[in-house]
Symmetry: C4
Subunit: 503 residues, 4 copies
């Protein structure tokens, strides 16, 4: 039987020499672990001698504790009666919003989902989800650009039938809408990424799992139904072996159908709102779930001096991510370690879309994305890149699947993206805010709203099937006059010719 | 002599097993009617055992009660002294705005009309009239696009004479302005659609009667003067027999000169403001006047599961409307059941305008409309569609009459639409808000303001007659750069050739 | 010696049967004058039995009283001690703003002038000056369009010398800025139009005198210095004889060098702010100064039913103005009655500018104006019309002088207008608000600010003389894409050929 | 030993006849100096008989007092105990902001720097730094135009290395960002221009020294490290001898590598915010540091009447500046007095850029600048001029270095300017507000923020070195449609041919 500690005793061990923490009612000695902690020593020391459960829980996947601490580090359990009230967990103090959760049926649109979630989740979670780079210009433009596109409804079309189902990379899905890889879902709600998976299942929607998920991939896909489709988002690590191990691990998860290689954020953007909540964020033992508890040594120049202080959560998550990927080296390396098809995420120019298309069939798709406005501010929205592709190299749309994300708030946005040639449309923040607003049911509400709006839009356009949507259903003139108009810069025509010849 | 009930007795019958309601001082047993009620059982049960007059009155035409209840269902009358004050009708409690109605002469423009009406009508009526789809982008654009057009006044033109009279479908009218088919006028004022008719008569204005009017067509046209022109708006019902019966019924109403077939809303748009007032709206025993008290069985897929809960009033009104109309089937079917000319309402592309023109002479006119921004959000304003027609198929303007609606707030807006080639200009919300602001006199005030503004605009342009207005009086450049610029998509050239050959 | 009345006695004569009023301390019996009053009986009856000086004074020129009342109508004088305090004049009650007038030197720009004046003048005066048509779109655009034009400063130019003097119609003036004909100056300050004249003299600025001035032309030009230049604004009256008499009268006023025929407002625009102050405005015995006290019978259709009630001051001033002027009849008629050169005011299209140029040399200039946004709302600003002329018929700028007004608030605006080809730049509201802010010194402050700003702008552009300014000093691209782009509509080429032949 | 005075005695000498002031604890008799004071007599008399240290100190360089007063003018010292508390210096009263200075690490961007500084510096300093001409249109546009440019990030580029170093006029610098010549740094903080120099040294940034600096050039460069680069801003004085003396003096300061001749403000712009703080500003014994204490006689027309009253600080600083510079005379005169290369500052048209390029190699660079929006309002931002040069005479970019300033607030702004062809990017207000926010550490924070943002932007674009940046990394379409589109006006082609021939 384990020893029972009083809080006063634990509180004495609050230094680097002897560092105890309470987690889930247990008392641990983490002194030896301090130098290995990926988020740095400071984070742990700030919580030394206290109950760290509240800070630890939402951003660590279950099991990670056991992996990183030996049995002897577990000293015993805490006598709950001795805990100061301020140290009690929200559940224990009954510290929930007084008015209670909002009836999800009364939430009518995605903006309201965000509004409700903002009231319910912690400031640090909100800051991490809400934040974008610099002045949030790209984040705001991502949405506004859809408002600039007008729809062209046709009359006298029988619209009694309306079907939102389509296929992505050859897999049947119920919706062209998928959930983008977004980190740290359990910051919003204990249902976490597993809750998102359950909501997706309800609508036949695809889900991309973030490398920075707060649950392990095994946990997330645990209850996947047959036919349910997942992708795995890969941030290549400076320690390539780690990434290789992960690719190996994925082979046991057949629900994961492809690798989504994220390229739009080789270094983190400057998310000031997130940095402002750094005091809280610095408490986060980052990186998360799958990156394990090992130290994150890096090879880049920057890393020589160690992580900067005052990093926001976004910056912390990037620590250890490789910034030296290239067309020449990375895809061949990937080919060695996985047979899954690759989807490249974060393309923002027609030139890169064109280059990607030259790498079919290894590369089966690309995601036009500015990382939700979180990477480079004033980078173009995906709609611009789609129009650029149409203008400079429309053949890309025939060679590989093109998906988009960023700024989707309405079914009309989804339809416009599809008319422009997108095959899939990703939602990131809406899913996370849905989770914050009501757990898995909140995510389902988000998907339900968008599906209903998409159907209404299709019917009013006079369209019954996804594949009937086309450029003749939209007026993009107000956008087209703003897209890139310079030289085409289409490199490597010989490669392309060769690729064509192969067909 | 009928029996007299105390309120306390009525109040006991508040269940599905025994459901009594008070209407106009009479006590009815509506137990047997509950399952037949088009608006659903819940609506009635919420009012069971109470005086339902206030909720019932503004949205049911007179006579509908008698049609649907047998004599024996009428139990007697209520003893008014026993009514709780909260149950008394507004007339009985003198519950009118304290400051009294505003002197209509002091209302100077359409925005002020809306402002005054908003204070005077119920929240549910306001929500129904005010609401538009999604983010109200199209509603707002409808008006803003007129501000983008500049006028080109000429000097040294004798403008002592100015005449706003014109003709619509060959009928002389005093104004190019007509009242659009707008539902549920009695929500705004007891004068209802009949009051609108009287105001129209005063100015020689045409009126389109909504299928969802809160009065019967017979009542509305009852006092029509010779030469007064009406159109009947048809939403084709899933039960075609109902629509056919209505067309038959119209044959006895010679004041109704044409059928306006509404096509811009085969399914309802998403009007969130309206949905938010659903608790009240769900009290509405919809559909309205002419759709009778019968059950609204539907044939579409959606209807299999019955009406969704939490519908706004707009959605309720759509219940039972056919979504399977086509060029091929609907016009021939109409030709079998009416000899009246057809005006197609809700065209939003030049392609459809062109197709419509191929169906002359059955089709005598089209109305460019996005349903007041209430159907598909970010659909184009009528001004865009007019400019599209001028660009791709100007011959349409010679073949059939083109009317527009949506966003009209000023006489300058009317004049601009006419310069662009519109023959008639419809106002929906302004008429309803006029009714709300002051009953039939309020509608007359609206027409009076717009007529005076139109005349002032014509004089200052140096124009004496409607048919003198043309493109040289306006500068549309700021709009033209935004209109659709893609391929023409003009289908069925052979048909058009044939149609031309017939001329 | 005249009889002295107590206020109580005067107060009894407050009906149409016996109507007395106090004016300037005298008691008058105006019973017989009531039906002849141009502003209508109601206006006088509202003041019957009271001291009407405050309402009467600012809008009637001196002498008008004597012209219209016989000696016997003057009954005597009032005993000032018997006046109720509320009836005392502002001077008597010391009712001036407590903080006292603002030091004009601390007012730095035209917006501040308006701000100061708004606090000091009456609500009715403010409403009359401030108001513009409908939604004030043209008023606001008039100014905004100058902000859309960028300047192109050159370096390494000696700018020690800078001269704002120029010539208008061959007369030397110290500034290209002139005061536009604006009505009712004494509403703002007792200095009235004479005060404006004195301020203009100080800067060598030209002044146009409004037909609706609150002083007689003789009074206004009374102290004109040699070389001081005035123009007379003519609104042709329905009773042509009146206008002819005025032209005759001007022959005795050599300081008035030309006739400015106003054409941009054949009927009044809809100025709602002005109409809202109608209760006060209806007290105004309009028309003003030079239109005399006689009845204003009219010949137009409209006038048959008499003036509409609830007219704003702007509408009242228009009463009796001819709306039947034409190219064919009006200029020849003018030629018969005056030898003065004609400047046509209110042109808003290149077509009319072109037509006007065909009437040189009788027509020596045109003023591009939308009447300060007070006539037709959404009419183009003068900058648009200037650019239209440059595009369609630049020869106009060589044939006649082109002046502009509307929206001028900065010296940079003045310079931009001159770069575009304007010879003169009119200010209306700024002069009136200057008067309101500080009488004639206020007007001088306005001219001083604009002159200094104009000089600073010229020096920074690297320009020493007005005639050096040109299109190469501005970038108008943001405006040019919005101007009219339709067919030229240049009529009467033969006439133009003939005119050219004459040269 | 010097005499000790009581404050009461000093206070008696408060007239033009006997004028004493206290400075740094000493008592001076400045009676004889009054008529010679460059800022005018009034400024001194307002402080007569008081402790003037607080007003005097921030705008006079050390040593200036000794230069202008003889030993006998120094009467003695003040008995500090007799000073009224309101006269004590801030240091003596401990009058510092209660919350204490903000931790500079928590300031995340340039806007926040300004916000913090605004709270900490005096109103007059803020007004001088913040103010711009007229309506601040150019100031605001300077920044907004960068937001209109979109970035084009490339993927799969190794961005582990990122180097912001570059060269300016052949000198190696650590950053393409330099500090613009901005006057009166000690108004913000006692560290003054010397503090800026120390911050620049930390980042290897270049600094331009304003002629109106509040410290002498010798003081500013005193601690310069080897390789640290300075430029000297020259406003040519009406008394050329003064300017010549200054050029001579610079020969002893080898850290100063070039002369920056300011041309964009031959006369001061109208900075109203600055004028509003004139009561304070008029206390400033301007001109500053290097202009010495002598009288500022001028030769221009304007100066005949002496300086205008109510000048803002900006206007005062201009007093005595030559407005008669020309291409023909000024550069040859400069060549006689200095061998340093010349950089022309304030070009705003491609025509002048072209002309400047004809003067290579004497002219080695140009700065496209509208003087921070402080000279001519609605003048174009540097981005416009850069695009004009690219359109009309791109060869300029090969012949001379082109730098820009104005509106830079983000690293993305810096990168965009470089992509457009700028070699250097100047910051003025950010440096001054940095100084105000935290002295030299505040300036360092500004440079640190901008360097980090620039690096992040480069990495996310996929760029490792400054010279890799180009037009293909940006989308300028939204700006290009607004730039000047008129005739090229490229004068003196023969000169250009000659210049070319010389190469």
């Amino acid at each position: 039987m384990s020893k029972v500690f009083d809080y006063a005793e634990v509180a004495k061990h609050n230094t680097a020499e002897s560092c105890w923490v309470i987690l889930y009612g247990n008392v641990y000695d983490v002194t030896k672990f301090i130098p290995e902690h990926p988020g740095g020593a400071k984070v742990i020391l700030q919580l030394a001698g206290t109950d760290a459960t509240e800070e630890y829980d939402p951003i660590h996947p279950p099991g990670i504790l056991e992996e990183n601490l030996s049995e002897e580090d577990k000293l015993g359990t805490i006598n709950a009666d001795t805990l100061p009230s301020s140290e009690k967990s929200p559940a224990e103090t009954g510290d929930v919003a007084e008015e209670g959760p909002r009836d999800l049926e009364t939430i009518l649109n995605i903006d309201e989902i965000e509004e409700v979630a903002t009231k319910q989740i912690s400031r640090k979670a909100w800051a991490y989800y809400y934040s974008a780079s610099d002045d949030l210009a790209s984040k705001s433009f991502n949405n506004r650009v859809y408002r600039q596109i007008l729809l062209r409804p046709r009359i006298f079309v029988d619209c009694t039938q309306c079907d939102t189902s389509t296929s992505l990379l050859g897999h049947d899905v119920g919706l062209p809408i998928y959930v983008s890889p977004a980190a740290m879902a359990r910051l919003a709600h204990p249902d976490g990424e597993h809750g998102i998976a359950q909501a997706c299942e309800q609508y036949g929607a695809m889900q991309l799992i973030s490398q920075n998920a707060s649950m392990t991939p095994e946990q997330i896909v645990a209850d996947a139904k047959p036919g349910q489709v997942f992708g795995w988002q890969l941030y290549v690590q400076n320690e390539r072996a780690k990434s290789e191990a992960m690719l190996e691990r994925l082979k046991k998860l057949p629900a994961i159908k492809f690798i989504c290689l994220t390229l739009d954020a080789p270094v983190p953007g400057k998310r000031e709102e997130d940095e402002r909540s750094k005091n809280i964020a610095s408490n986060l033992p980052v990186p998360s779930a799958v990156q394990g508890g090992g130290s994150t040594s890096t090879t880049s120049e920057d890393s020589k001096t160690g992580p900067p202080k005052n990093m926001g959560m976004g910056q912390s998550l990037f620590w250890g991510t490789a910034a030296d990927l290239t067309w020449k080296t990375t895809l061949p390396w990937l080919a060695k370690h996985t047979d899954l098809p690759i989807v490249l995420k974060g393309l923002q120019t027609h030139e890169d879309a064109y280059l990607a298309s030259l790498h079919a069939p290894q590369v089966k798709g690309i995601i036009l994305s500015n990382h939700g406005g979180r990477a480079l501010d004033t980078a173009p929205p995906a709609v611009h890149t789609l129009l650029e592709i149409r203008k400079y190299c429309p053949e890309v749309l025939d060679r590989i699947e093109v998906w988009v994300d960023g700024g989707i708030k309405r079914g009309t946005d989804v339809v416009k993206a599809l008319c422009l040639g997108a095959k899939g449309v990703g939602i990131g923040r809406p899913a996370l805010f849905g989770l914050g607003a009501g757990g898995k049911e909140g995510v389902a509400r988000v998907l339900g709203i968008l599906k209903a709006e998409t159907e209404t839009c299709m019917r009013l356009l006079g369209v019954g099937r996804i594949d009937e949507l086309g450029m003749h259903h939209i007026n993009t003139r107000a956008v087209e006059r703003d897209i890139y108009d310079g030289p085409a810069n289409l490199e490597r025509p010989s490669l392309w010719a060769k690729a064509k010849a192969k067909l």
